[in-house]
Structure formats: structure tokens, C-alpha cells
Symmetry: C2
Subunit: 160 residues, 2 copies
């Protein structure tokens, strides 16, 4: 995987997330990119990331995907608002204030999951991001996250 | 760890969850027990389960803990409603319809996390469970889950 995602531009100190940190060698290293006005993140669960039943994905992973993808989307959207792409300016870092996931159908394991997100609201350091989770073309979950930008990354002057 | 939790009584087919399945050898094997009217689950995150910053827990793990603990609590509460403890009757299995987590403060890594839950509503196959997440005595998150009992476990006559 050599695709560059939003998360690859997080400052080093903020790049240790198990879900999406490029510096977490045990993590999932999720990568989010723009696809027109939306952002997209694709991930194929590991065989042991099952739910109660052996053929579905565990709910905590779905929540993790939504969480990390929405945090990345908030950061990239903040840059985009200022007219920049990730990599062109220091990347802000958003953390989750609130996360809601509605599970619509079981997510099958062994299939690539696609998470798509869009900005619902962006105001000061707060962002509201809505997401959908699909597997094999079927939507299995919907999420919404309230994200808050860390102050220290709001004033960063140099990307590390 | 030889403590018996609610999850140890799930039927085999429903015991593969990465979060709490006793048959998932790679999983976290969360265990929930009653503590008076509340249920409690304790877990010390693994060193790599960090958030963006190296000294905090990633949000997806918090969501996972709330999710699995609420599912287990719903199952045990359903039994309790009928006058039984886990192990005395076949264990029902609840799945998550909706999960909400409010992140109040960063959860430090290296500290045992305690998740507590209580039943807010139990009606037919639906249960609403509220949870709190604490680390080192400080509450760091609150959650609420809507759980739905799987029909097949509602009619189970024998625990496997």
C-alpha cells in the first residue's frame, strides 16, 4: 500500500493511532482520500476481526472505521476550506467529541469495506461529519461524528 | 484470567467476537459481570492500542468496550428478568442497533479501564443500555447502546 491518505500528513506526535496512525506498526493504517466532495476510505478486515458470528465484522471495528475516517475528513476539510490539499500545509488534528453509529445490517467479513463521509457542518474548531459504511455495494451502517480540532495543531507553522 | 463473564455463556456459534468472544483467540476476550444492579467490565489496553498521541487510548477501542459490554449486559439482564444468572439458562445474544459514545476526556494508556453499565429500558427483544468509561477513577467517556436480541437465541432450549 503506497497510496497517500490524509492521515499520512498528521504531525508525528499525532500519528500513533491504532486505527489510522502511520507510525503505529501494529495498527490498521487506514487511509482516507477525497473523491469529489466526499472522502473515501477502504479497508479489508483481518480474518480475526469477526463479530459474534464467524462470518461478520465486529461492531467495534465499524465504529473505529467511522471514527478515524471522520477525524481525517475533518482535518482535510479544514485545509480545503483554506484552499489547500493535504501535504500543502501543516495538517490539523481533530479528536472525537461524540460518535454515533447505526448498524443497519451485518457487515460480511472477507469483503472490502468502503466508508464514505461528507462535511455536515464546519464552524471554528468544530466539525460534524456524516459517514456511510458499505460492503460489496450494500450499506451496512451509518455514522455521525462531532470532531474538535486540537488547539496546538491549529497554530502549527510547520509540518513535521 | 479465569473469571467467568457473561460472554463465557454465549452459545459457541455466537462466541467469535474480536471484542468479547471466548472462541476468538486473537481477541480481547472482554468479560462482564454483575456488581449489584450494574454490570462491570475491566480491561487494560494493549500498548499498541493508542490514539493519535502515544499516551492515550484510541477512540475505536473505547467504542468497542462500550459495545461489547452493553451487548453482554443486555443478555444477562434478559436472563435476570426471568430470575436467572448467566449459566443457569441458555444465554440470549444481543446485537447492536445503535451505539453512541461521548468522549469527555482522553483515556490514558497503561491504566485499567472500567466500563459500567445499567439497563435503561428492556422491552421485548429490545434493550437500551447506558455505560460509563473510567480510567484511574476518572470518567473519560459515556455511552448508550440500543441492543436487539437475535431471534434464534430467543428460542434456544439448550446452551452449547
Amino acid at each position: 500500500m503506497t497510496t497517500t491518505g490524509f492521515q499520512d500528513h498528521y504531525p508525528d506526535d499525532y500519528a500513533h493511532c491504532y486505527g489510522c496512525g502511520r507510525l503505529n506498526e501494529h495498527g490498521m493504517r487506514l487511509k482516507s482520500v477525497w473523491d469529489g466532495p466526499e472522502s473515501v476510505c477502504r479497508f479489508t478486515p483481518r480474518p480475526h476481526q469477526t463479530g459474534g458470528l464467524r462470518d461478520i465484522v465486529y461492531g467495534g471495528l465499524i465504529a473505529s472505521l467511522v471514527d478515524c475516517h471522520c477525524a481525517g475528513t475533518a482535518a482535510a476539510a479544514k485545509l480545503r476550506e483554506e484552499g489547500f490539499q493535504p501535504g500543502e500545509r501543516p495538517m490539523p488534528r481533530f479528536v472525537t467529541a461524540s460518535l454515533k453509529v447505526d448498524y443497519i445490517a451485518p457487515t460480511p467479513i472477507g469483503v472490502e469495506i468502503e466508508v464514505r463521509a461528507r462535511v455536515v457542518e464546519m464552524k471554528g474548531r468544530k466539525a460534524v461529519i456524516a459517514a456511510t459504511v458499505s460492503a460489496g455495494g450494500t450499506m451496512t451502517a451509518k455514522g455521525e461524528a462531532v470532531m474538535v480540532q486540537l488547539r496546538e495543531t491549529a497554530s502549527a507553522t510547520e509540518e513535521r
